[in-house]
């Protein structure tokens, strides 16, 4: 636990040094999406009783939570492993692989949560009324945690920055657009919908949206998110154990 905190301590130290840069870079794309889809389109379109703005904000939130946690862990760890070699400092330290994995995942998760909170605040300024209870933040946390863990797995097994970017283009980018972030998944042909329903981001979008719009309790989706979180974390542990 203490070792996990040490890793997060470093993360906080770095974050404090470049807080502005961090917010600036993690907010640009959600802001654009909010403006284009939420404000531009959203005000005029009604969508099953709610405005499109209120429909789309949980989707944008899920998407940017995914992006910022994945990138926070994936990019920085990949660079630290391959380029700066700072990962070695942690690998030669007498700390358990569990603590190391958890520290790294929580570090990225923290960044994801921070930028999500800022987006929530912005969305309210744009006029979206969302219901944010504890479960909303549970869903948000699970989303950040699982994508941060996925980032860790990618960072540990992918051996070049180019392949890292490729992975992001083929896995993260399609999810951003297809997983019920901007429209409901059931608009797809059934086969495509089935595939999309397996992806974790779909369940992030469903959970956040159902809770925010008070449309029931997304038990199944939350369980799916938790399962993904556990699985990716375990996978992350496994690859960290083997990294050389």
């Amino acid at each position: 636990m203490r070792d996990t905190y040490t890793i997060i301590w470093r993360e906080l130290l770095l974050l404090r040094k470049k807080l502005l840069r961090f917010f600036a870079s993690s907010l640009v794309s959600p802001l654009l999406f909010l403006t284009a889809f939420g404000w531009g389109l959203g005000r005029s379109i009604q969508f099953g009783g709610t405005s499109y703005l209120e429909f789309v904000v949980p989707g944008i939130l899920a998407m940017s939570a995914m992006n910022s946690s994945y990138n926070a862990t994936g990019m920085s760890l990949n660079i630290s492993r391959l380029y700066f070699k700072t990962l070695e400092e942690f690998l030669v330290a007498p700390i358990s692989t569990w603590s190391l994995t958890l520290g790294n995942v929580l570090g990225g998760c923290l960044r994801g949560l921070l930028s999500s909170v800022v987006i929530l605040v912005l969305a309210h300024l744009y006029g979206a009324c969302l219901h944010c209870d504890l479960w909303f933040f549970v869903a948000l946390f699970l989303t950040c945690f699982l994508f941060s863990a996925l980032g860790l797995v990618a960072a540990m097994v992918i051996n070049s920055h180019e392949d890292m970017a490729r992975f992001s283009t083929f896995v993260i980018l399609p999810m951003s657009f297809l997983c019920g972030t901007f429209f409901q998944v059931d608009r797809f042909p059934p086969v495509v919908a089935k595939i999309v329903q397996v992806l974790p981001l779909t369940h992030s979008a469903i959970s956040l949206r159902m809770i925010a719009l008070e449309a029931g309790f997304p038990l199944v989706s939350l369980l799916v998110l938790a399962a993904y979180a556990v699985f990716f974390f375990w996978l992350g542990y496994w690859v960290t154990l083997r990294v050389e």
């Binding site: 070699k85 070695e88 690998l91 007498p94």
Partner: protein, 282 residues
Amino acid sequence: MIEIRGLCKYYGSVKAIDGLDLTVKSGEIFGLLGPNGAGKTTTVRILTTLSRPTAGKVFINGFEVTRQAMQVKKEIGVVPQHFNLDLELSAWENLELHGRLHKIPSKVRSKRIEELLDFVELGDRAHSPVEHFSGGMKRRLMIARALMHNPKILFLDEPTVGLDPQVRRRLWDLIRNLNRRGITILLTTHYIEEAEILCHRVGILDRGRLIALGTPEELKAKVGRFVVEVRDGDETKYRVFGDRDQALRFAATLADDVVIRESNLEDVFIELTGHRVGGSDA
């Protein structure tokens, strides 16, 4: 004490280490010498738990590196070949991170950081970001970092590469000082004179195998004390002889451009490996 038994490390078909047996005694400065690609870094990485052996066993003060990695990590300090400091953090913060990772209580930690920064003469730069440090400063900071938790064995992988002569000499003094305080040191280098000046014993590694082992004196005696250098067109040829008379007699048979001198570790190296040591300024 470091005990290496039958160590092998293969990367696909590349045999980076190929059956290495070696014992480094407590309290000595041991130099691992070898040309580029000889397997020095690979050896150090295995000894420091960063890489797993394909075959063989390594014991660090009695702890086996793969099964008892946690105990091993507490015994050792590591200064890798490349700079792996956190560039965005200050010198102090780099050391603090290391101290925290080794669970040094915060009071002791601060004192130790101060001491060590003074020891490596970086006291006045404690709070500037490492990004702007020179190569020598970074290397010294890395040594300070490796010493934070009072390791019994210190590994230095090519500690003086790319440093100017003054800085190198200061680092040598630093390494000797540490050794006098009882720290066992294993360093790798391809600067021959570094090994000759600094190390109690050296091992010469070539293509993953140990091809010679002993004190610099022993090794020089083994290949011959005297060297005759002959200019042959654009190339200089070397011949090694056991005593001066032999060398003189050989020199007399040659026409011009001969130099007779005492042998050094570099001659040992060339004699044994058949090629010069890597590094243009070696």
